[in-house]
């Protein structure tokens, strides 16, 4: 027997509560399938988001054993065997203090740094507002040619480091800066901005770089690198932010007499 400790909240409640569900272990089960088992056999009011169940759509990011992860990609057995530990820097999500026994229990809570709607469902509006704020729209410099704009495989490889982002917001939930400064654009939006900065088909590099040149943009990051650690797609927002800051600093030095 194992136990799922699940955060429960709905509008009208003053405080969240935790429910404990006992389940027989099933070999190869993911946290998402365990949540379905709870919904289907124990409590059909449990609310959570789901879609692809294959770690490509980014719907089911949540806090699992106090680490933001995709529920569909996280194996229950690995959690109970203690194989899924992931140390994070300065990470203490507000209000998440319920104790649990990691040898017998899995604790599941909503993604931090975003308001909770119900149970494990958070409101993603702010996350996507920052995505829109960096203007994630391809704007090539020249008029469209008849055929494709040529690109080297090397340029594609560099872009792929960032285009693989699935916007699951695990990084947003893991980032201590996002926890303290609600105005911070966050790792995903900045990685997206960098993706356009380095696209060789655009020649708005300066403009792109400048649009993150503000206290709640490139400069808010404190390189805790939790974003990189929790990313299910190995995106490295901290790398993008570091490069942007180096470029900007270099520019500023050059301008000084």
């Amino acid at each position: 027997m194992m136990q799922f400790v699940v955060y429960r909240f709905r509008p009208g409640m003053d405080h969240p509560r935790y429910d404990r569900f006992r389940l027989d272990p099933v070999s190869g089960e993911t946290v998402l399938s365990a949540l379905f088992r709870i919904q289907e056999t124990l409590d059909d009011s449990l609310a959570f988001r789901y879609s692809c169940r294959g770690a490509v759509c980014g719907t089911c990011a949540m806090l699992i054993n106090r680490v933001p992860r995709l529920a569909c990609r996280t194996q229950v057995a690995a959690l109970l065997e203690g194989k899924a530990g992931l140390p994070l820097s300065h990470f203490a999500p507000a209000g998440m203090v319920e104790p649990w026994d990691p040898k017998k229990e899995v604790i599941v809570e909503p993604l931090p740094n975003l308001p909770v709607i119900k149970d494990l469902i958070v409101n993603m509006d702010r996350f996507f507002a920052y995505y829109r704020e960096i203007s994630p729209v391809f704007r090539p410099s020249d008029p469209a040619p008849v055929r494709e704009r040529p690109m080297s495989p090397a340029a594609v490889r560099e872009l792929d480091r960032y285009t693989t982002c699935i916007l699951c917001a695990a990084c947003f939930g893991a980032c201590p800066v996002n926890g303290q400064d609600p105005a911070y654009l966050g790792p995903a939006a900045l990685a997206k901005l960098w993706r356009f900065r380095i696209d060789p088909r655009e020649d708005r590099g300066e403009e792109r770089l400048a649009s993150g040149d503000r206290p709640d943009g490139w400069w808010a990051c404190r390189f805790h690198t939790n974003c990189r650690r929790v990313c299910p797609k190995d995106v490295t927002p901290d790398r993008a932010i570091g490069k942007a800051r180096m470029e900007l600093s270099k520019r500023k030095k050059e301008k000084e007499p």
Partner: protein, 625 residues
């Protein structure tokens, strides 16, 4: 709406303004606010009919066009309307980026000719059309196939111009790889994340065009007025509020229905909503029995292992280590079309040459770590995450699973369905470009090509469409409210979820890769019995807001309609063609069945009839690979 929430809503709309953003943070999250306002779409939403509504505070939205579904088809169509200055909105049961399009791996076919074919030959849209028609087992409508293949190169280029990062050749051109059933390396790709790359590109464009998206709105019915579709109703999932949408035209773009089968590669959200909604509103369905079973899905989870794995050189092996495809498709081997390969795997397993548990191996080891990491990184990650197998070191355990719906809402090339005002495109529609079996790389192509063509046709005709009346929308909202109240009001009934499992198991065992009369008749009875049992289901969760069990109940209701159409189509088609394989009728019968199946309402019953295939460039021939 309270003054406070109205205030916050206007702030939400002004989020680009930094001052407003700072102000918003002064409001504690969730404190004393209605959750509804949190889900008002970020763009300006017009509510001109609100006063007319008879349902009091019921929100009724009006747009010239309402698009149901936010995947590749829906988003591409919305861009077309936006460019034409036609007010449109996208309604989606999930955030558009969570649509199943995002999971498409292998690529998009287009005769760009960037990579030379066998003997240095150059590809052409005619060759693409021939491969598609042959792949379809000659059931595709050839006028539609020709149009799609002609549009293909400019469609891939158009996406490149919107910013899609396609994989490239050394000379900088878009890379192309071989795919099943194709005579040329014709499939353009973005590693093995093609759907992800294209969907994100289109969503970025939709963001830039500020097209309103009603996220997490589950469409509950279509509105008809004097034989014309004039809108829909939708449950706002997070609040439980039912909205009405009035439109001059509705475009259905909801994708497939794979989740009626127990083993499916599809996202969990693919419950055939669009097909069921259209059918109930009076639009006939076409060729629903043609369900594609993908040869290579991961054992246990049925997650797709792309055909690209074989396109890049992967081999299928049985438990003796034999490349068994030589027995079934001596020329094409592992790259025969999906129906051929899926049957071959099932036959190997049935003959005792599979592994215990019913699977075979897909071996990529000889490709080497570098190629796997560059062109199949997603596949490697999936195999490691979900089966604990690293394809660089071990073969991947695979078995066939449901993958795609060739059938759908019967439409012409312009997306017009049998119900005026209702249009459809993408997987939920049947144009028919895939006939009895779809080729890999043609579905992504179909979504973008026909999303655009359907939108162009609607944009052309919209000046002649009347403004919809508010009354029928409001009464449909009331009917939906009553239906939901009735479902939530039931007590002491049976649980929902065992019924869903039973349906899926029934469909996979009775309407799977191999079919025959007796078992299909049993299956049909089981589907109808399940439909009766739904009336005695009750949910423990009675709340309106974020009631996920309610959404799953409504989805099951749709799935049952779709399942019946698959069953009746399959029972009626007494031949084997493409994906539809009958043990009792093993041969193709052009005499009687070179026809499309049509499922339409007749009173309360579903009636099957047939309509001729549109031939053209290519005469039916025996299909050998």
């Amino acid at each position: 709406m309270t003054p406070r929430s109205r205030y916050k809503r206007s702030l939400n709309n002004l989020l680009n303004c930094r001052a407003a953003k700072m102000l918003m943070h002064l409001i504690p999250p969730g404190a004393g606010t209605s959750p509804r306002l949190l889900y008002i779409p970020w763009c300006n939403t017009r509510l001109p009919m609100e006063e007319d509504s008879q349902a009091g505070r019921t929100p009724i939205h009006e747009y010239d066009v309402v698009i149901i579904g936010g995947g590749l088809t829906g988003l591409r169509a919305s861009l077309q309307f936006s460019r034409a200055g036609i007010p449109c909105a996208v309604i989606s049961k999930v955030h558009p980026l969570r649509s199943h399009s995002v999971a498409a791996q292998g690529g998009m076919n287009a005769a760009l000719g960037n990579v030379p074919g066998p003997g240095g030959a150059e590809d052409s849209w005619e060759r693409h059309a021939y491969d598609t028609v042959k792949g379809s087992d000659f059931l595709a409508d050839q006028n539609a196939v020709v149009r799609m293949c002609q549009e293909a190169p400019k469609t891939v280029i158009e996406l490149e111009h919107m910013g899609t990062v396609w994989s490239r050749l050394e000379d900088g051109k878009i890379a192309q790889r071989p795919f099943g059933g194709a005579g040329f390396p014709r499939t353009c790709y973005a590693a093995d994340r093609t759907g992800h790359n294209v969907l994100h590109t289109l969503y970025e464009q939709v963001t830039g065009a500020r097209i309103p998206v009603f996220e997490e709105f589950y469409v509950t019915s279509l509105v008809t007025d004097a034989g014309r579709c004039t809108g829909c109703t939708a449950l706002e999932i997070m609040t439980g509020l039912v909205h009405g949408f009035a439109a001059k035209a509705v475009l259905m773009a909801t994708g497939g229905f794979g989740r009626i089968f127990s083993r499916s590669t599809n996202a969990l959200i693919n419950t055939g909503d669009g097909q069921a909604l259209a059918y109930r509103a009076g639009a006939p369905l076409e060729d629903m029995e043609f369900v594609q079973f993908h040869p290579t899905t991961l054992v246990g989870t049925s997650i797709l292992i792309s055909e690209a794995a074989r396109g890049e050189g992967g081999h299928l092996l049985n438990n003796r280590g034999e490349r068994f495809m030589a027995r079934y498709a001596p020329q094409a081997l592992d790259l025969a079309p999906r129906d051929v390969v899926a049957r071959a795997i099932e036959q190997e397993i049935a003959a005792g040459r599979g592994f215990p548990g019913g699977y075979v191996h897909l071996d990529l080891r000889h490709l080497g770590a570098d190629l796997i990491n560059e062109r199949l990184p997603g596949i490697r990650q999936i195999a490691m995450d979900f089966a604990g197998v690293d394809p660089v070191k071990e073969p991947i355990p695979i078995q066939p699973g449901q993958h795609y719906s060739m059938g759908g809402i019967a439409v012409g090339i312009d997306g017009q369905s049998g119900l005026p005002g209702l249009h459809a495109a993408g997987e939920c529609a049947c144009v028919s470009v895939h006939g009895a079996n779809r080729l890999g790389g043609n579905s992504l192509l179909e979504t973008v090509v026909f999303g655009r063509l359907a939108a162009e046709a609607i944009a052309r005709d919209i000046p002649s469409f009347a403004r919809p009346a508010a009354g029928p929308v409001a009464s449909e909202v009331s009917r939906t409210e009553e239906k939901i109240a009735e479902i939530l009001g039931r007590t002491g009934g049976k649980p929902l979820f065992p019924l869903i499992d039973e349906l899926r198991e029934t469909m996979y065992t009775k309407f799977g890769i191999f079919r025959e009369e007796r078992t299909m008749q049993e299956g049909l009875l089981a589907i109808r019995a399940l439909a009766d049992r739904m009336a005695r289901v009750s949910l423990a969760d009675r709340e309106r807001a974020a009631n996920i069990a309610l959404v799953r109940y409504l989805g099951m209701d749709h799935m049952l309609t779709v399942a019946e159409s698959v069953a009746l189509g399959a029972i009626g088609r007494k031949e084997s063609r493409g994906s539809h394989t009958r043990r009792d009728y093993p041969a193709r019968d052009d005499e009687r069945f070179m026809q499309h199946t049509i499922a339409a309402q007749k009173g309360a019953a579903m009636e099957i009839s047939y309509t001729p295939v549109i031939l053209g460039m290519f005469n039916p021939e025996e299909r050998v690979y």
